[in-house]
């Protein structure tokens, strides 16, 4: 049996190259914050970030200059408001210009599903009567060969690397997750490489019947990382820190304050445990 267990640092260094197309997926739940921080620490540049709901971790990566392009469908701080670093990049090109490939949730979900299925495009009843196709040439149309009906088409999404967080993995690389799963399975199957951080690594996962498992042969590396989704949450492990999401609005509002916070808590921390400890000092 080949072990897929790696340190997070090794997994990122091996699979995430400058210029890569990278999807850190997670829909409110199981957002891979620790992996995003490690990408920032390793100084990756010109990433094409993909995500349905770029939230705080993408705000941080964009503000730290990791990204040059963003494929997305909703970019905000859920329940709070704007992502100030994303806005600054789009409105004022700071710290660098950010090209937008903007879709709807239905469009990105269909594009991941097509990517997972090995198809070059997805068909949907989408984008009807809106201005989105006029600002995104990657939204096209296809005619049904049976009814003649015109439908929307989007190109499949196949990230070079998808990064997820989950509850458990075994050494072989099988990953088990439960709770709200967003489009994570589709983003995983669509990826050329797949890194998963988990709360816990066990010798062997039990048979899961209809439970959600990412099978080991689609997984490139698993890294244990307790608290790796904080400040988002992990069902049956820890709750979402809604207060942090609210505080982020202030932290990220100005460039200087943002940089100071990132330096102190992310760059000055060796790893995620140190990051969490640095937040305890503040609290």
């Amino acid at each position: 049996m080949t072990s897929k267990v790696r340190t997070l640092g090794d997994a990122i260094a091996t699979h995430v190259r400058d210029g890569a197309c990278v999807a850190l997926e997670g829909f409110t739940h199981l957002i891979p914050f620790a992996a995003g921080h490690e990408i920032i620490r390793q100084g990756r540049r010109n990433l094409h970030l993909v995500r349905m709901t770029p939230d705080l971790i993408y705000d941080q990566m964009i503000g730290m200059g990791c990204a040059s392009k963003l494929t997305f469908s909703w970019g905000g701080n859920p329940g709070v408001g704007s992502l100030h670093r994303l806005r600054d990049a789009v409105e004022h090109q700071w710290p660098a210009p950010l090209a937008l490939d903007e879709h709807t949730h239905a469009g990105v979900a269909a594009a991941y599903s097509a990517g997972a299925a090995g198809l070059p495009f997805a068909t949907l009843r989408g984008y009807l009567g809106t201005d989105l196709p006029s600002v995104n040439p990657r939204i096209r149309s296809v005619d049904c060969p049976f009814t003649g009906e015109r439908l929307a088409a989007v190109p499949a999404l196949n990230p070079d690397v998808t990064i997820l967080h989950a509850q458990r993995a075994d050494r072989r690389g099988n990953v088990s997750m439960h709770g709200i799963v967003g489009a994570q399975r589709e983003a995983a199957f669509a990826a050329r490489a797949l890194i998963v951080t988990v709360e816990e690594i066990v010798d062997e996962l039990p048979p899961a019947m209809n439970g959600i498992v990412l099978p080991h042969w689609i997984v490139s590396a698993v890294a244990q990382c307790r608290g790796g989704a904080y400040p988002s949450y992990v069902h049956d492990h820890y709750a979402r820190d809604n207060g942090f999401y609210q505080r982020w609005d202030t932290i990220a509002r100005e460039r200087d304050g943002f940089l100071a916070w990132m330096n102190r808590h992310v760059l000055a921390s060796r790893d995620h445990a140190a990051f969490l400890a640095s937040l305890q000092e503040v609290a």
């Binding site: 469908s73 329940g79 409105e91 239905a106 799963v181 489009a183 904080y230 949450y233 992990v234 979402r240």
Partner: protein, 261 residues
């Protein structure tokens, strides 16, 4: 209990639009409060679907995000997000979708993308999310937003989600299956589309609000129904239930979160 805020009245007005057993696609904020108020009062069997894939969820407190853990714990089941948009919305399996927006025009078209030009925005907004396809495919939609001449506008900066397009039956001539925005709930009253032109007109006012106030808060020359209804103020039960829900929610969200160790 006789005092109520405009926001409470918006929530109550929206809740009353829901019928028992209806399948409802819920957004965070006012729609979430309205849908749960309906569930806790006249519509115990309303089916609440949050975008995160939680179907038939029955939270005890209002979620702060669309994917709070309690939504999953109390849901009939949790499904992957692609299925929410394909098997439920696109397939026409949702009765009511709730939408908010930064701007709505007189035909119920919505903007949640940018203020200013797309390529050089004055304000970059979060974007479409699920709204575009909710607007297209839910059997009908309810729009909730606070009225100002900058939110109820003559001309959208960007069309994120289709209402009645240019009106006069334009939407009905597309392949969109949903009937579009049947009710717009503002903080002065309710707008509804006119039968022929699809133009939103003033259908009902909150108790204590005048037509002039409604007109002043609307960025286009607002048409007014021949007889404008006045909405019944929140009943004691509605108000008590809503305030208790908010109190439970504040209490739950005040509990400190421990960092994972």
């Amino acid at each position: 209990m006789s005092d109520w805020t405009r926001e409470e009245m918006m929530t109550v007005a929206a809740a009353r639009q829901l019928w028992d057993g209806c399948v409802c696609f819920v957004g965070i904020g006012l729609p979430s409060a309205a849908c749960n108020l309906a569930r806790l009062t006249h519509a115990p069997d309303v089916v609440l679907i949050y975008e995160s894939g939680t179907l038939g969820t029955r939270p005890d407190v209002l979620p702060l995000s669309i994917g709070d853990g309690e939504l999953a714990d109390t849901a009939a089941c949790v499904i992957p997000l692609p299925e929410v948009f394909s098997y439920l919305l696109q397939a026409g399996r949702v009765d009511v979708g709730f939408l908010g927006a930064a701007q709505v025009d007189r035909y119920g078209n919505l903007n949640s993308t940018v203020i200013g030009p797309y390529d050089a925005p004055r304000t970059r907004l979060p974007g479409a999310g699920g709204a575009t396809e909710i607007a297209a495919h839910a059997r009908q939609t309810f729009v909730m937003l606070k009225a100002t001449p900058r939110s109820l506008v003559a001309q959208l900066d960007f069309c994120t989600s289709a209402g009645f397009l240019a009106g006069n039956g334009a939407r009905a001539r597309t392949t969109m299956r949903g009937a579009g925005p049947q009710t717009v709930i503002t903080d002065y009253g309710v707008l509804k589309p006119l039968p022929e032109t699809d133009e939103l007109h003033l259908s009902a006012l909150f108790n204590g609000v005048t037509v002039d106030e409604a007109r002043a808060a609307t960025g286009w020359p607002l048409k007014v129904a021949e007889s404008v209804d006045t909405l019944t103020p929140p009943t004691p039960i509605e108000l008590e239930t809503l305030r208790a829900l908010h109190a439970r929610t504040r209490e739950a969200h005040r509990r400190p979160v421990r960092l994972p160790a």
